[in-house]
């Protein structure tokens, strides 16, 4: 028994070592650029990276990190040095108490106090707009947003960010007296839903590639509700000393991208399937390395590292917590309650909560997955120990063996099946949840899924989703095999008899 356990723990250690090696950190670069998880942001991130490269600044680009909050936090924490943003978002989301008509000078002054610099506008406004299928709009005779108010039965789906933000739906609804109850939907998926007729209207961005592709009508903002969303780069002000060439490169991009150019770049990536890097290089008229993106092996190793390390850490903490919970019933209730509460935190929120503590990348993802893994393991350890026949526990006590020895040699082996079942649940759930790690730059199978959703590329989504599903099945199989190896023969006999 103990020899088997030793072998198993040795194997586990080796596995963790391999996984840690797999999660190797990217080579250090002078400047780190981030981008949000939509095409335009990624293209602008690539444009900045290549422009910096032109000036001899070694920059790397952490693409598709997530939404505004994640990028903004990462910038403030110094996890990234720069990312493309929009003036409307800065004025209404990031700096809250600004006057509605604040100009870029005011933004610059306020950001400077936070240690953040802002470049000159790039030349296009990617403000929010509301779009419908041309055919529907023509049939109902809707040209302006105010025209929507007369058709309360229209189905509206909005991107989740737009639903919640101060300058999004709540304000729009009030300004135009719109009676609809919109649903939240991913921006890229909303186009599909619009094209298929599942919804009638959605929020758009002014430079979205799909406007022409899907033959959409952009409704006129007749009450001038939407503020301007001029694209700019935000950067950490210390770059002016640390990497003046990078700031100069950003300055060089000011005013260089008209809306039509941005729309065509977006279309080249999103509709025609070109790489962001290639599109950005063509725009700058520079050569590019044609860098091969990460492959399946990279995603697999990253994913295994996220799951394996978080799980190993969770086992190390959760099994002792489960023992404690079984030994001290009242404390046990508290422990089970606390880990249960952790489980109720929506996973995306939990990932975001980790950013101020651990920055972005694999570490916060591992921390979040670790917290998620605690409950099933603590609960099953507790249940396994509490479920041991009292006569057996008493026999061990009556032999005159001390509690620690009884725990190791009698109680834990008898609870082993239950504990392993808990670890198995945590592992399988983690494989799925870890795909969300891509939102905060942790990589893994979530990366192709996220890019696939962004590019509306079902094949790319499958490249992440299928291996993730297979990995979940493999985890299940692995833990069933471990259970067979570790379960003492005597217990299997008893279960059979």
């Amino acid at each position: 028994m103990s020899r088997r356990l030793a072998t198993a723990s040795l194997l586990a250690c080796l596995l963790v070592a391999v996984l840690v090696a797999g999660a190797r950190p990217a080579a250090a670069a002078t400047v780190t650029i981030g981008s949000k998880d939509f095409t335009e942001s990624v293209v602008l991130g690539e444009v900045a990276r290549l422009a910096a490269l032109e000036r001899g600044v070694d920059a790397r680009h952490r693409r598709s990190l997530g939404g505004t909050r994640i990028l903004w936090r990462a910038l403030l924490e110094g996890e990234i040095d720069a990312y493309p943003e929009y003036t409307g978002t800065i004025g209404h989301e990031l700096l809250r108490d600004l006057p509605r008509d604040a100009g870029i000078g005011e933004l610059r002054a306020r950001l400077r106090a936070l240690g953040i610099g802002i470049g000159e506008p790039l030349g296009f406004d990617n403000g929010y707009a509301i779009g419908m299928r041309e055919e529907t709009a023509a049939r109902l005779g809707i040209a302006d947003i105010s025209g929507l108010a007369a058709h309360p039965s229209l189905h509206i789906a909005l991107s989740n960010e737009f639903m919640d933000r101060a300058d999004g739906w709540p304000g729009l609804k009030a300004a135009y007296g719109l009676p609809m109850e919109p649903r939240g939907m991913d921006h890229a998926l909303a186009y599909r839903a619009l094209a298929s007729g599942a919804i009638d209207a959605t929020d758009l961005y002014g430079t979205d590639a799909e406007i022409a592709y899907y033959d959409l009508r952009v409704l006129n903002d007749d009450r001038r509700y939407f503020p301007r969303y001029d694209a700019v780069y935000l950067y950490r002000i210390d770059l002016e000393q640390r990497a003046p060439g990078f700031v100069a490169a950003l300055d060089g991009l000011a005013g260089s991208i008209p809306a039509s150019r941005m729309r065509s770049m977006n279309k080249a990536v999103k509709i025609d399937g070109e790489a962001e890097e290639a599109v950005a290089a063509r725009f700058l008229d520079v050569a590019h390395a044609g860098r091969a993106g990460p492959g399946l092996l990279d995603y697999t190793l990253q994913h295994l590292a996220l799951v394996g390390i978080s799980l190993a850490l969770a086992v190390v903490l959760a099994v002792p917590l489960g023992v404690l919970a079984a030994r001290r019933p009242r404390l046990g209730q508290v422990l089970l309650g606390l880990t249960g509460i952790l489980q109720t935190v929506p996973s995306l929120a939990l990932f975001v909560f980790m950013i101020p503590l651990f920055g972005i990348g694999a570490v916060p993802a591992i921390a979040a997955l670790f917290l998620y893994s605690l409950l099933p393991i603590v609960r099953n350890t507790h249940a396994g120990l509490v479920g041991i026949e009292p006569a057996l526990k008493e026999s061990a006590a009556a032999l005159g063996l001390p509690p620690g020895f009884r725990l190791r040699r009698v109680e834990l082996p008898l609870a082993l099946r239950s504990i392993l079942a808990g670890v198995k649940i945590a592992a399988v759930v983690n494989v799925g949840t870890a795909t969300l790690g891509a939102l905060i730059g942790a990589g893994g199978f979530g990366q192709p899924i996220l890019t696939g959703i962004r590019l509306d590329d079902l094949g790319l989504i499958m490249q992440g989703a299928v291996p993730a599903a297979l990995l979940a099945l493999a985890m299940q199989g692995l833990f069933e095999a471990i259970e067979r190896v570790l379960t003492p023969r005597g217990l299997r006999l008893r279960a059979a008899s």
């Binding site: 006569a391 026999s395 005159g400 003492p488 005597g490």
Partner: protein, 251 residues
């Protein structure tokens, strides 16, 4: 032939909520003899064993060994002075027979060969085929399991054996055979034995001294002849009569 008792209970009360399992009980356990505790279920006889082992502690009164009150600080040592066998044996299902036997000696630091020698020696005493040592409890018959439990209790040669209805779940033939073997072993080893049973005939077979319990107290103690000739009260009379009813009708 009067010796100081091995164990004694002095006015011991142990209650579970409102139920007093043992209620002001005073009782002496004679050294080197077999004492049989009898009574219906709930009479408190198992609780007496648990008090002697320190699995329970008195709410009032004292449990003494060799005239000195048991101390919680010396609990593990006290328990190792006792071998304990329960109805279903209490064998650990994840360990082989040898693994079960080796648990305490292993903790005490015995060598493997010493453990093995002792196991073989006791297996012979308990008429347990040595080929069973590598089996798991689930692969044994009920009688074999009880023999293993007895061997496990004897491994470290404790001066006292406590047996809580050790034969209660066995069929009559196996039970009969094991009764003979156990009595022979007790006589041969000369240990202090406390045997809990609800069967008067079994108690009389094992012991000269029977203690009948009721509601956590001693209803009567003495030899089987005392019980038959001079029952202390109506309860004892009924208890004895109930036991004799079956053979009486057959005769």
């Amino acid at each position: 032939m009067h010796r100081a008792p091995a164990y004694s209970l002095q006015g011991v009360t142990r209650a579970y909520g409102a139920v007093r399992a043992v209620d002001g009980l005073t009782l002496a356990i004679a050294r080197g003899e077999t004492t049989a505790l009898i009574g219906s279920s709930g009479s408190g006889k198992s609780t007496v064993l648990r008090l002697l082992l320190g699995l329970e502690w008195p709410d009032a009164g004292e449990v003494r060994r060799d005239g000195i009150a048991l101390r919680r600080e010396a609990l593990l040592e006290e328990r190792r002075r006792v071998g304990y066998v329960i109805q279903e044996g209490g064998l650990f299902p994840h360990l082989t027979v040898l693994g079960n036997l080796a648990l305490l000696p292993g903790y005490l630091g015995w060598s493997r060969s010493r453990i093995h020698r002792r196991a073989l020696e006791l297996a012979e005493l308990a008429r347990l085929p040595s080929g069973l040592l590598e089996r798991f409890p689930a692969e044994l018959s009920g009688g074999q399991r009880q023999r293993v439990a007895l061997v496990r209790a004897l491994m470290h040669d404790p001066p006292t054996l406590l047996l809580d209805e050790p034969l209660g779940s066995l069929d009559p033939l196996v039970r009969h055979e094991l009764q003979e073997d156990l009595r022979a072993i007790f006589r041969r080893l000369g240990k202090t034995v406390v045997l809990v049973t609800h069967d008067l005939a079994e108690a009389a077979f094992f012991s000269e001294r029977l203690v009948l319990m009721r509601h956590g107290r001693v209803a009567q103690e003495g030899s089987i002849e005392d019980f038959l000739r001079a029952p202390a009260d109506d309860f004892v009379r009924e208890f004895v009569a109930a036991r004799r009813e079956l053979p009486g009708r057959a005769a």
